[in-house]
């Protein structure tokens, strides 16, 4: 039904954004060179990519079974968050306008998807695979730790509590988008904001890699700021979810940066050594 259309538009817009960013920040030659010799990079990130895949698979399962499980083991923090911050989101919205809503809806849907995907292209194009590995590990941590939080905490977003004071502007502007957001998350999983945490992680990575992509760093920082603001302005997240997201994003960033450099060939060698009864692979 409507979902395919929404996904189609998303793919087209984000694809265009990534194409433009690749030309501007990376350069076609650099990407082309990397594509001609992808194996060292894939070798370096394979263990992390597999872990990410497993985490995403778990997340998929958790979307179906997690909420029921969460109600049993988790704690419902919605009332506490509402008691702490009250109608802050409504106050934030009062500074808005239809133009701001449009801009932030764009940031929330397309800006976020761009921030999530473009760094993989950019770091793939680098000669050294370190940053690509760091990014993959950080993304895995974001999803993995986020999933743990989703199970531990039941939190409904502002639209489920202060709907009248802080209307869900994105869904009013673009009702069909809810078909997509419903596919990727449940309404009890507002804490922490993964939009926030992943954006913060990517911005931190962009600053770390500013020597490679000098112009991308400020763009990523601004885009991340807009995504973070949009999650609150569109009444999708509480300020507390965003705070939790910032903490998660930074934890994931440092976790990713300090993740051990284990490539697929290292693992293979290690496994081989183990089965041969030797402690070190043959030189």
């Amino acid at each position: 039904m409507g979902l395919l259309e929404v996904v189609g538009v998303l793919a087209a817009v984000v694809g265009a954004l990534i194409a433009v960013a690749t030309v501007v920040f990376v350069g076609r030659e650099r990407l082309w060179a990397a594509l001609r010799d992808p194996w060292p990079r894939l070798d370096a990130i394979a263990p992390y990519l597999v872990t990410l895949g497993v985490v995403l698979l778990f997340r998929r399962l958790a979307l179906r079974y997690g909420p029921e499980f969460s109600w049993v083991v988790g704690v419902n923090l919605t009332g506490t968050i509402y008691a702490v911050e009250g109608t802050f989101i409504a106050t934030l919205q009062s500074y808005g306008s239809p133009a701001v809503t449009m801009a932030l809806s764009f940031a929330y849907l397309y800006g976020y998807a761009f921030l999530l995907l473009f760094p993989f292209v950019a770091y793939f194009a680098l000669d050294e695979p370190d940053h690509l590995r760091e990014l993959t590990a950080a993304a895995t941590l974001n999803y993995g730790l986020g999933l743990v939080c989703y199970i531990l905490f039941v939190v409904y977003g502002p639209r489920n509590v202060i709907l009248d004071q802080a209307p869900p502007l994105l869904y009013d502007l673009y009702p069909q988008s809810q078909l997509l957001t419903r596919e990727v998350n449940r309404n009890v999983n507002a804490f922490p904001s993964l939009h926030t945490s992943l954006s913060v992680t990517v911005a931190a990575m962009a600053i770390r890699t500013r020597d490679h992509y000098r112009r991308f760093a400020p763009v990523a920082a601004v885009a991340a700021g807009l995504v973070v603001l949009s999650t609150m302005y569109l009444a999708i997240h509480w300020a507390m979810d965003v705070l939790g997201g910032v903490v998660l994003g930074l934890v994931a960033y440092y976790g990713g940066v300090y993740a051990p450099a284990t490539s697929a060939s290292d693992l293979y060698a290690w496994l081989h050594a183990d089965s041969a009864g030797r402690t070190r692979p043959p030189q």
């Binding site: 419902n76 919605t78 509590v161 709907l163 009248d164 078909l179």
Partner: protein, 598 residues
């Protein structure tokens, strides 16, 4: 403590004064010892008696409510209540819970303080018996979820069941008066029911929306189409199609179209449905009804439906363990109705005699509206999962086998459900007799698909685009209503007021067991403001749990304010001083602005 300390000092002085020429060492020691002993004893006594008492602590209450995704109005009423409780010095917390979880916590586990939700309006006062009779407090589901017990109310509930006519009305009025006085739960307002459909969809035979099983027999898809595409906001039927499940309580329309009862309520009266006719038998101390079923009835899987299935259904709904458990394990949803039945016997293949408890026929007919279940499917569901919990109560019944006008075809978990017209149904017979004739050759479509949609606006947009035909959930969201009103391809539909917003109190919890406390809480909801601001004027304020005027004592009719007293504030917000005075009047105390107890 300070006061206690003074006395021993005096005692010490007396001792010293009694010994001329200065206190001897011994007397001094002894005096000091006594003094210390007395002092410490006094002090200790104080400490002990102080600590033996619980410190007064702030009263705290949680307010459970469905989130706005499930019901945008309930959460706003709940917020008003939380805010007013806070102003009253109570530590109040909002607890949004999805409808399934809310049902589990409130109806099964009784884990709540206050709950704000909608509840079907009570047309027949006998429903109050299920809701409030104290012997139901250990039951599950809507059997006295409030844990309320009042012997006078119990007596009136029993009496109304036996009486008829004006005698019954008089007893019910007295019952309503007691219930309003005691506030086991508070009625807040009656919302109007709004829904929407494509302009080309026809509603016939008096139906206006898709709330009841019969509505699906009355609706006609656009001329050229044989399929009806229906949208739901509440996707529970897309997961669970067990007619016995409490936590997946829907309005019953979808599952109710799959399962046929002996008699259906048509225009307010229970009329023969799978029964051809029935007659009351005069002899015997208990009322007995001889029910003759229509001939050659079948379930959707082709198995014949006979009088023994009817008898089985009553036995099974009364004890889903079929005798395997020490005590019966009734199906909570039907306990009130099935409890009216004493027993059954089957003299002929298509005849069943139902023996009832002594009650009026008017009340007893309710018992005929429970679903008839196929014996061959449900017998094995009597297996005990744990104590007092059978497979029948937790089974999802994804591929239901009933005998109703709609039969299961296919489903995608949480996404969609397709039912097909049951062309073997008696509604398609040429010799169809009785009140069911209104629905001859129905439904008017071959298949109906249900899909979950996230919000009212998304639903109206799908209707506008012609991607769906009707919405079967209430359109509570004002934005969606406006859009449905102004859209040309969409008809905006209004139906009778079908539910109340209520505040339920868990009388098993401290303070909430006190009717005076509940009476004050009931006044903390500004019913006029709820209707104006929350329901956008689309409803009426109310505080009496009776639907029909003849059951409401004259002096309890709504006259602008609750009979318990005016709202202690303005525009939905209580005045801090006024509300605290209400709690002081019933014997509560304040400490630095917080309501304390203990």
């Amino acid at each position: 403590m300070a006061h206690e300390k003074v006395k021993p000092v005096g005692h010490l002085r007396a001792g010293m004064a009694g010994d001329r020429g200065g206190p001897s060492r011994r007397s001094l020691l002894s005096a000091t010892g006594t003094a210390l002993a007395t002092a410490s004893a006094g002090c200790l006594n104080g400490v002990l008696s102080e600590n033996a008492r619980d410190r007064p602590s702030q009263v705290s209450l949680s307010v459970t409510t469905p989130p706005a995704d499930d019901d945008p109005n309930a959460v706003r009423i709940a917020r008003q209540l939380v805010s007013n409780l806070s102003t009253a010095g109570i530590d109040a917390r909002l607890v949004p819970e999805g409808e399934t979880q809310l049902s589990v916590n409130v109806l099964l586990n009784r884990e709540f303080d206050l709950v704000v939700t909608d509840h079907p309006r009570i047309a027949d006062p006998d429903r109050l018996r299920t809701l409030l009779h104290s012997t139901n407090a250990e039951g599950k589901g809507w059997q006295n979820p409030f844990g309320y017990s009042n012997l006078d109310v119990d007596g009136a509930l029993e009496a109304q069941c036996r009486l008829t006519g004006t005698d019954r009305e008089r007893v019910v009025r007295e019952l309503i008066r007691r219930v309003v006085r005691d506030q086991p739960f508070s009625v807040v307002a009656i919302p109007r029911y709004y829904s929407a459909a494509r302009a080309s969809v026809a509603f016939e035979a008096g139906a206006t929306t898709l709330q009841q099983p019969l509505d699906y027999l009355s609706v006609r898809p656009p001329e050229d189409r044989t399929e009806l595409r229906v949208l739901l906001f509440d996707g529970r039927v897309l997961v669970n199609r067990n007619p016995l499940a409490v936590e997946y309580r829907d309005r019953g329309a979808v599952v109710g179209s799959i399962y046929d009862p002996v008699g259906r309520r048509v225009a307010g009266r229970v009329v023969p449905w799978i029964a051809r006719h029935w007659e009351w038998m005069e002899e015997g101390e208990r009322p007995r009804l001889r029910v003759s079923l229509r001939s050659d009835l079948t379930f959707h899987d082709g198995e014949p439906l006979t009088a023994s299935d009817v008898a089985f259904s009553y036995r099974f709904l009364a004890d889903t363990s079929l005798g395997a458990a020490e005590e019966p394990v009734p199906a909570p949803r039907f306990r009130g109705r099935v409890g009216l039945v004493h027993g059954t016997n089957v003299p002929e293949r298509n005849t069943v005699v139902i023996e009832f408890e002594p009650c009026s026929r008017e009340v007893l007919r309710r018992a005929l509206t429970v679903p008839v279940l196929p014996t061959h499917v449900w017998t094995e569901k009597s297996r005990l999962r744990r104590r007092f919990l059978t497979q029948a109560l937790v089974w999802e019944n994804r591929q239901p086998v009933g005998s109703g006008p709609l039969a299961f075809e296919s489903a995608e978990y949480e996404q969609s459900l397709t039912l097909v017209r049951n062309s073997d149904h008696f509604l398609f017979r040429d010799d169809l007799q009785g009140a069911a004739r209104t629905f001859a050759d129905r439904p008017a479509f071959e298949r109906v698909t249900f899909e979950a949609t996230p919000s009212g606006t998304a639903a109206v947009e799908l209707l506008e685009n012609g991607e769906a035909d009707a919405v079967a959930s209430p359109l509570n969201d004002e934005t969606a209503r406006q859009r449905a009103r102004s859209s040309t391809g969409v008809q905006f539909r209004r139906d009778d007021d079908w539910s109340w917003y209520v505040v339920g109190y868990n009388a098993r919890r401290p303070h909430l067991s006190n009717p005076r406390f509940r009476r004050v809480l009931s006044r903390l909801v500004d019913r006029n403001h709820v209707v104006e601001a929350v329901l956008d004027g689309e409803g009426i304020p109310s505080d009496v749990p009776a639907m029909r005027d003849r059951y409401v004592p004259d002096d309890l009719r709504w006259n602008g304010e609750s009979t318990l007293g005016p709202f202690p504030g303005e525009e939905g917000s209580v005045d801090p001083e006024a509300v605290r005075e209400l709690f002081r009047e019933i014997g509560y105390r304040y400490d630095d602005g917080t309501l304390v107890a203990g």
